[in-house]
């Protein structure tokens, strides 16, 4: 098996700098075919920036992003555009085009990137919508859907061109616990039946431990730990422990310092 087939996603020493601020400080990891790789970390750790680099929305200031063996960093805009049908991305709030019906949203990549006839497109749209549990919504406008349904529709759209790799941005944030675990189930189902390779960015621990084959923990622009959910739970690094055990980062106890400002003499 060639390297690209074994590891469809390879991230090699990716760095990103905005002005003087270094947001990503040399990140490397590889995702195996059929694997769900979860990137997690506290807010502001750079995980969204990393995801944007992985799908070519941002060009990293250093390093390489190889998807299916091709280096996104070396591509120009036209090459990126041609490459992009091979990746599917689900945005945090679905990012459905509000001016189009749900069905047209899902059909958009098919109409733009293929020469399929309308009846085939229509059939594929219905098929993708039913795969994400949204039968019969293709005529609805995005504004008529709930938050969870929008994400499902966004996933159906990402699946339209049968991409080889998927990227998810906070798939469960803003969902109630039941809807969130339903979404996790959907991801697991797709993994089982479609053999989906995916990178999921999340700060939802429950979801991360449910869906991940492996987890990478980002902290301050660096990957500080990587492993299976059980390995991550067992790591002893305080930065990871505090995140995994949901301890607040630091809450200095001021009470002691205050003591010297109080005088009690009962008078």
């Amino acid at each position: 098996m060639s390297d690209a087939a074994e590891h469809p996603i390879e991230v090699d020493d990716v760095r990103m700098q905005f002005g003087a601020r270094e947001v990503l400080r040399g990140i490397s990891f590889r995702v195996r075919a059929g694997e769900t790789y979860v990137l997690m970390g506290p807010s502001g750790c750079g995980k969204t920036t990393l995801l944007r680099c992985l799908v070519g929305l941002l060009r990293p200031t250093g390093g390489h992003v190889r998807i299916l063996g091709e280096d996104l960093v070396a591509m120009d805009e036209d090459e990126l555009d041609r490459f992009r049908p091979r990746i599917g991305m689900l945005f945090q709030f679905g990012a459905l085009l509000n001016s189009m019906s749900v069905g047209d949203n899902v059909g958009l990549p098919l109409r733009e990137r293929t020469d399929l006839d309308e009846s085939t497109i229509h059939a594929i749209v219905k098929m993708k919508l039913s795969m994400v549990g949204l039968e019969g919504t293709h005529r609805n406008m995005p504004s008529e859907l709930s938050g969870g349904m929008k994400k499902r529709a966004g996933l159906a759209r990402a699946m339209a061109l049968d991409p080889a790799v998927y990227f998810f941005d906070e798939p469960t944030s803003g969902l109630d616990p039941v809807t969130a675990s339903e979404f996790d189930e959907l991801v697991l189902t797709l993994k089982r039946y479609v053999g989906m390779t995916a990178v999921v960015v999340t700060h939802d621990l429950d979801s991360a431990f449910r869906i991940a084959d492996r987890i990478g923990v980002l902290y301050n622009g660096k990957l500080v730990a990587e492993g299976t959910p059980d390995e991550i739970k067992a790591v002893d690094d305080p930065r990871i422990r505090s995140f995994v055990a949901r301890e607040p980062r630091s809450r200095a106890d001021h009470a002691a310092v205050w003591q010297k400002f109080f005088v009690d003499d009962g008078g």
Binding site: E77, F91, F93, P109, R157, V257
Partner: protein, 372 residues
């Protein structure tokens, strides 16, 4: 408020509620004590009733300024635990800082650099979008980026046909007004016999200037703002990113059809504005000023050259391009949230109206030089 001096120690017995609108007596008493020679000031807060954040902030500030000299005596547990939840006085950063007033020369330099930066930024965005527009309408179609004529046509409907009533209304009113204004001037030169020339004045000024410029300003306010708001909102909701990730260039998919729509719609609207405006002047001339209908008609035909109408239409197309580019460039610059959508929409309308007028001046000068 009671102040007791005991040796080198001053005790201020505070009484009452430590609330934001009742802090003055507390401040007076504590500051008076602090001005004295006492080495230690105890603020007895045992009889303080209710307190709020402003009250706590007041205590924090005095404790910090006291530098260890001021302490609180017999604080009740509610007040004590409330204060302990806050950073201790030495970490408190509530000091008044003097605002440094920059020198006038610095101010002028800063403002000038700021203006230059903002203008050059706007020009850069605008220029890059213009080049992309040219690319996607000329070279792009041969490299797999098709021009979305269906979307452009629906934009023509939205920007053009829907704007017809307002453009027609404003133009007919403008025609009526110009009829009166020209009559007022003509009368000074030779009385009512010259009223016939109001046909010239209305016809030429409507077709050359008023028609295109008025339509452009209406469309800048109506469609330019809509383009910025729509594209800006799409930037906020990640719809633009979604398009990019699907391999669809937002400029080719969204912006080009909108600009093409404006480019086509504006000259069409200007033809309507010209006709309706002349009709307005006709009403003034024939009905109010009493110029015979057939003479007014003949005079209008004589006064108008096809080139007047044609230059008006060329201007209109350029105005449409400017409005569309400004609207789209500002929309794509939206960062952050809904507030920026509002800011960029305002900016888009203001900048596009200014650009339209600057372009009009350039055209007028070119034609003037050409004529002479």
């Amino acid at each position: 408020m009671e102040t007791l001096a005991r040796g080198d120690r001053t005790i201020v017995a505070a009484e009452g509620d430590l609330l934001w609108d009742r802090l003055d007596p507390f401040a007076e008493a504590v500051d008076a004590a602090a001005a004295g020679p006492a080495r230690e000031i105890l603020l007895d807060v045992s009889r303080v009733g209710r307190f709020d954040s402003a009250g706590a902030e007041f205590l924090l500030r005095r404790l910090k300024h006291g530098d260890g000299r001021v302490r609180l005596r017999n604080a009740r547990s509610e007040l004590r635990s409330y204060l302990q939840a806050m950073p201790p006085p030495e970490m408190f950063r509530g000091e008044m800082t003097t605002i440094l007033r920059p020198a006038v020369s610095d101010f002028i330099v800063d403002t000038a650099t700021d203006v230059v930066e903002r203008v050059s930024d706007q020009v850069r965005q605008f220029g890059s979008l213009f080049l992309q527009f040219v690319y996607f309408t000329t070279i792009g179609p041969f490299r797999g980026h098709r021009v979305r004529t269906d979307r452009a046509v629906s934009e023509v409907v939205v920007t053009g046909i829907d704007a017809l009533p307002i453009v027609a209304l404003v133009s007919v009113l403008m025609g009526l007004i110009l009829g009166f204004q020209s009559a007022a001037q003509l009368e000074k030169f030779g009385g009512e016999s010259l009223f016939i020339y109001s046909a010239n004045m209305v016809g030429v000024s409507i077709t050359r200037e008023i028609g295109p410029i008025l339509t452009a300003i209406l469309i800048a306010g109506r469609s330019g703002s809509a383009i910025t708001a729509e594209i800006g909102t799409m930037a906020v909701t990640e719809e633009l990113d979604a398009l990019r990730v699907m391999g669809m260039n937002p400029v080719s998919f969204l912006v080009v059809p909108k600009i093409l729509g404006l480019l086509l719609a504006l000259p069409c609207l200007v033809i309507v504005a010209d006709l309706v405006g002349i009709a307005g002047g006709f009403v003034t001339g024939v009905v109010v000023l009493g110029v015979p209908l057939s003479e007014y008609w003949r005079q209008t035909q004589e006064a108008l050259h096809l080139s007047d109408v044609f230059t008006g239409l060329v201007k209109a197309a350029v105005f449409g391009l400017l409005i569309g580019l400004t609207g789209a460039a500002n929309g794509m610059q939206v960062r952050g949230g809904s507030q920026d959508v509002g800011l960029k929409t305002t900016k888009s309308v203001v900048v596009s109206i200014a650009l339209v007028i600057v372009a009009d001046l350039v055209f007028t000068m070119l034609f003037f030089v050409g004529d002479v």
